[in-house]
């Protein structure tokens, strides 16, 4: 009664004001309120965007009407710089692309150069590469999934698995001395053999990690709160995903079993038993589950590779292309000469063009390299999976709420360094 009286009173005041000052255009009516849209800049830097990309969203209340992604904030002209660098000096560019799984980028690049030069890599080095690449895939997926947990409000799971990533980085450190921007591969094999300490650390980690992973999974997989936030959120059909050029876990979550490791095996992947997990709906939950299952499959591959690690050299007998280990450079004249020639970029590559792709943490990571016979690539194009699928993001979030958009972005695992290159 009192409220109505107040409303009535207000209306009277407004009406009298309108009469007096003719304010009819300035006073909003209920109709005007319902049609007002908000433009919201999500990003470029916002804790929830996990990187530097901007989304200009049109919001109707809490619902997203449309979105325009803007990228390029950390564009470094990777392809242009690569045209002036000898092959070895391109390696550090590649591992700064996707810094969550840099060994995969490194090895993919080295394999591309090997294909161009016609270098055959010995079996032991191939298995060592598989181990390094699968470790990288595990850490990549762990970060993606645990951050998805953080975005839904569960910080604990992130802490569990971040510790495990730390242990994997210690293994990298034993293998090559670096942790984040690893440079453990060489054209023709690995920089050095796995030390006993590295093997021991790897074995220890393989024993302890499954328990942590089980704990992480049991925290999320059937968690009511988590499922309410991610099931049916940000879905994409298999058909649209293929049309958008999705690869990797994002495509497999939509139900397409395309995996470069299985379809075009490289680096002895044909020797290993593993399954390709696929989802059905392509929503955030499916992406999360596919990544979790892939971690188990990667562990299977690492175990097999470690058990069957062949004896033999860890690099190809290709002195013109294989950068000699530092110890040899100190003691051996030939190694010093080749080291110098390779570092100065005096080794010329054959004329040709080659496309090589590997299964990166996010999908098919392809290198298209055109060589005109010089010391540097004539043209290097990098098929960056993040760049290709991020453009589907507006389509995936239109109609959902802002908080759904955040978890969708996080489950797509867009790495800004790879997006912008």
């Amino acid at each position: 009664m009192a409220v109505n009286d107040t409303l009535e009173g207000t209306r009277k005041i407004v009406e009298s004001a309108q009469e007096q000052q003719n304010l009819s255009n300035l006073v909003p009516t209920l109709n005007d309120f319902s049609q007002e849209l908000t433009t919201l800049n999500l990003g470029p830097t916002h804790p929830a965007t996990h990187g530097i990309f901007q989304n200009i969203l049109q919001m109707d209340g809490e619902r997203i009407i449309s979105g325009v992604p803007t990228i390029g904030y950390i564009h470094r002209a990777f392809e242009k710089i690569a045209e002036r660098r000898p092959f070895y000096q391109i390696t550090p560019l590649t591992d700064r692309m996707n810094y969550c799984s840099s060994p995969i980028n490194n090895m993919g690049w080295h394999m591309t150069v090997e294909k161009l030069l016609g270098v055959t890599v010995p079996k032991r080095a191939q298995y060592m590469r598989v181990i390094a690449m699968e470790l990288a895939r595990i850490t990549d997926h762990l970060i993606c999934n645990s951050i998805l947990g953080v975005d839904t409000g569960a910080f604990t799971g992130f802490l569990y698995v971040f510790q495990e990533r730390e242990k994997v980085y210690e293994i990298y450190e034993e293998i090559c001395g670096a942790r984040l921007t690893t440079n453990m591969g060489r054209v023709g094999g690995m920089e050095r053999d796995f030390s006993d300490v590295a093997i021991q650390k790897l074995r220890d980690w393989l024993k302890t990690f499954p328990a942590v992973m089980k704990e992480f999974e049991s925290m999320f997989n059937r968690n009511r709160i988590f499922m309410d936030r991610v099931v049916n959120v940000g879905p994409i059909t298999a058909e649209r995903a293929l049309n958008y050029g999705f690869t990797g876990p994002n495509l497999r979550a939509a139900g397409v079993d395309y995996d470069v490791r299985a379809m075009n095996p490289y680096s002895s992947y044909e020797d290993f038993d593993f399954e390709i997990p696929i989802g059905t709906k392509g929503d955030t939950y499916d992406r999360f589950m596919v990544r979790n299952e892939e971690i188990w499959q990667s562990l299977r591959i690492i175990n097999q590779a470690l058990e069957n690690l062949p004896e033999g050299p860890f690099h190809a007998d290709a002195p013109h292309y294989y950068l000699p280990p530092k110890q040899a450079v100190y003691k051996n004249m030939e190694a010093l000469i080749y080291h110098f020639k390779i570092i100065m970029g005096e080794i010329e590559a054959p004329v040709g063009e080659v496309y090589h792709s590997v299964e990166g943490g996010n999908g098919e990571l392809g290198f298209y390299l055109v060589s005109d016979g010089g010391r540097t690539p004539y043209r290097l194009h990098f098929r960056r999976p993040c760049f290709i699928y991020y453009q589907a993001y507006p389509e995936m979030v239109v109609g959902s709420s802002l908080s759904d958009a955040i978890v969708t972005l996080s489950s797509m695992n867009v790495i800004a360094g790879e997006l912008d290159a």
Binding site: R84, R85, G118, P350, E353, G366, I388, A392
Partner: protein
């Protein structure tokens, strides 16, 4: 990977082609392409490192990629990547676009190339066939100035909007060409 050396790759194209499964696949694919689109559509047929590469014209590229996508036998319905390239010495064919398409069903890959003059860098868009072509074409426009007719939103993607040149073209050296302290005969290009 031993068979991928340039010498042996050339040899395998001549003599050992029937033994190599990839070469046999490529020969089949090429025969199919020529049946679908006409024998004289494709020039410069090569197989560098096992990937069938053909050159065609910009007038036919849209029709060919649409045909590959819709063909029930091939099902080449995955556009892996596309990128521009610049050959300043090729008079009248300075700019190029390179397309990689993939059939996930048959696991066949194909590389298509088109070349056109830099004075008239106009190419039909593929955005009506593949949503993924949108950003790739914007990237090619940004870097090489290739104009895609029919593209819904052809603006720069990675570089700043007020840039007035296309930086991946070869005339833009990466570093200042007048600097003398960087002149190193043994380094780079």
């Amino acid at each position: 990977m031993a068979e991928n050396t340039p010498e042996s790759a050339a040899a395998s194209q001549d003599a050992a082609a029937p033994q190599d499964p990839q070469a046999a696949k490529n020969a089949q694919l090429l025969a199919l392409l020529q049946r679908l689109f006409g024998a004289d559509t494709f020039t410069d047929v090569e197989e560098p490192y096992g990937l069938l590469t053909v050159t065609t014209t910009r007038e036919r590229i849209h029709e060919i990629i649409a045909g590959l996508q819709q063909d029930q036998e091939l099902q080449m319905n995955f556009l892996t990547t596309m990128c521009g390239i610049h050959y300043p010495e090729n008079e009248g064919k300075e700019l190029g676009m390179i397309y990689h398409v993939h059939s996930l069903v048959n696991n066949l890959r194909l590389r298509l190339k088109i070349f056109f003059p830099i004075a008239d860098p106009v190419v039909p868009t593929l955005t009506d066939l593949y949503a993924t072509a949108n950003w790739m074409e914007r990237e090619a426009y940004d870097f090489y100035g290739i104009i895609f007719t029919g593209h819904p939103n052809l603006i720069r993607i990675l570089n700043v909007e007020d840039m007035d040149y296309h930086p991946m073209r070869k005339e833009y050296a990466l570093e200042d060409g007048t600097r003398e302290d960087k002149t190193d005969l043994f380094f780079g290009r």
